[in-house]
Assembly symmetry: C2
Homo-oligomer: 325 residues x 2
Amino acid sequence: MSDETVTSRAADATAGRPALQALLTDAQSGVLLFGITPPRQSAAPDEVRQIAAVTIARLAPLDVDGLVLYDIDDESDRNLDERPFPYLPTMDPAVFQADYLAGWNRPVVVYRCVGKYLEADLRSWLSKADSRKVLSVFVGASSSQKAVHTGLPRAHALRQEIRPDLLVGGVAITERYIRSGDEHLRIVAKQEKGCAFFVSQVIYDVDATKSLVSDYFYACLEQKVAPRPILFTLSVCGSLKTLAFLKWLGVGIPRWLENTLRYAPDPLAESYHHCVVAARELSTFCRRLGMPFGFNVESVSIRKVEIEASVALAAHVHAVIDRPP
Amino acid sequence: MSDETVTSRAADATAGRPALQALLTDAQSGVLLFGITPPRQSAAPDEVRQIAAVTIARLAPLDVDGLVLYDIDDESDRNLDERPFPYLPTMDPAVFQADYLAGWNRPVVVYRCVGKYLEADLRSWLSKADSRKVLSVFVGASSSQKAVHTGLPRAHALRQEIRPDLLVGGVAITERYIRSGDEHLRIVAKQEKGCAFFVSQVIYDVDATKSLVSDYFYACLEQKVAPRPILFTLSVCGSLKTLAFLKWLGVGIPRWLENTLRYAPDPLAESYHHCVVAARELSTFCRRLGMPFGFNVESVSIRKVEIEASVALAAHVHAVIDRPP
C-alpha cells in the first residue's frame, strides 16, 4: 500500500469522524483500537521499518480510531511459572512511534510501564510528545515487590504538571476485581488523577467484566462523577500454547470456555466466535447501562494466522458495535 | 377448572409425548417441570384441598411434564443470618401428593430431605410409592454439622434395595461447584448410586453453571459414562426482599445482575427477562455440547404476583426450549 492511500483515508476520516482524543474526551462509545507489540530490541533498523510498513498495510483497510503500542515488561516477578513464550525485550514503544510510524496517520496510544523509566526520561518524553498524534496509558508495577524508578502516582503528577493536554488513560483489570473486589474504586481513583479513559486487560471472563463495569458505573453515580470510557481488549486464541500464555499473563478464562477451547477441533475459530459474542454482550450491556465503552483488538501471539484473525476480528467488532463513521 | 378438563389434557399427553419417567430415563432434553412448596403444616385439610385445586387450575394451561414438591427443611444451621421470610414448617410433600393431588394427572417429583426421616419411615414410603405417578429427589443434610436420621448414601442404598423401579434424582449446586470445584464429580458419584437425573438449585449465575455442566460433561466422557439430564431451576425475583431471600438460600447472584435488580424500576420484569435469557443461553450451550437438559420453574416467594410471573415464565421457557409436543 502506498503512502498516498493512507493519507487519503486519513483525510476522509478527518472530514467525518472526530479524532480519538475528542471521542475519548467526550466519552463517546464505539472507539475501536488495534493493539500491537513493538518489534524486538535486537531488530535492525531496516527490519523495524519493514515491520512498520507491513503493520500499516495490514491495518489500512480497518477503520480503527488508533493504534495501541504496548510497553512490554519482564513480568517474571509476577509469575514464577515458566513463560510459554520466551521473554524477548522489545523496543521502547515511544521510539517505535516517533521514528518508524510516520506512515500511520491516526493517533497512537503509547503504553508506559512507568516503573521502568527514570523520572528525567519520563519527563523528557512527556515534554516532547505531540498530543495531536500521541496518547498514553500509564501502567504501574506488575507486583508490589518490584523496585520501580517512577511510581504510578508520581507519573500522573508529572503529566498533570508538564502536559495536561496529553490524553492519558489507565488499565482496568477484571481479574484484580475478582481477587480484591475494589478494582472499580481504583479506577475511580485513577480518574481523579487524570485518566480520561481505561483499557482492559484481555477479556475472556465477560461475566466478571460486566460486574466490574457495573460496580464502576454505580460508584461514579454515587460519587457524582461521570464514568470514563472503558475499552475492552479482545484477543483470539489459536492454540493450546496461546491458551497457556493467556493464563500465564493472568487472563481469567471461565472453565466452560477453557474446556470448549481445549476440545475444539479448531480453537482459533472457536475463540474468534467467542470474541464476537463477547463484543456483542459487552456492547449491549454497556448501552443498556449508559456506560461509555469501546474495544481494543490485539493478538497476544505473534503467529501470522492469529494476527490475521485479529485483523478480521477488528473488522467484525467494528460491525458489531455499529460505530458511526 | 373441572376435573374433566384435566383428564382430557392428560389423555392428549399420553397419546403424544412420553411420560416424565421415560423422558428422563432416555436422557431426552427439554423436560419442563414446575416446582412448588407444599402448604404449611398448620393448614386445615379444607384449606389444603383448596390450595391443591388452585394450584392444579393455575398449572393446567402449562404443558409441563411434572410437578416438583419441595421438602422444606429448617436450614438455620446452614446460615446464621436472619431468614428474610420466616421459616414455617410445611406439610410432608409425600402426604400432600398422596392425599391431595389426585386431580393432577401427571407425575410428581417428591423431594426427600432424607436426614429428616427415620430409616423405617423412608422404607415405608419407598415401598408404597407408585412409580407411575411418583419420582423422587433425595437431598442430603444442609450442613455437615447437622444430625441426621438417615444419611444420603443409606437412602440411595434403600431405594436400590426396595424400589429400583422408582426413578430418583439428585441436586446439582452451582455455588458448591464455585466453592469446592468438585461438584461435577459429586454428581458423577451420585449417578453411580442410582440418580437418573439432577435438579439444580435456583440459578442466577449462568456462567458458573455452564462451567459446572461442562466439567460434568467432560468428566463423564473421561469415565466413559453417559451424562444424565440436568434440570435447571429458574425463579423470578420481584422485590429486594426476594433478592435477600435468594441470597440467604445461598443462590449466587453475579454482581452486575444484583446491581441491575437493585436499580431496576421493575425488578420483577427485569428478573423475568434475565430468566428467559438464562433459559436461552443454557439451552444453546447444552445443545451445542450434546448435554441432556431441561428446566424447572418455581417461585421462591409466595407473593401472588411472583407466582403468576413464574407460571408465565414456565410458558415462556416452554417456547424457548422449543420442546417437542
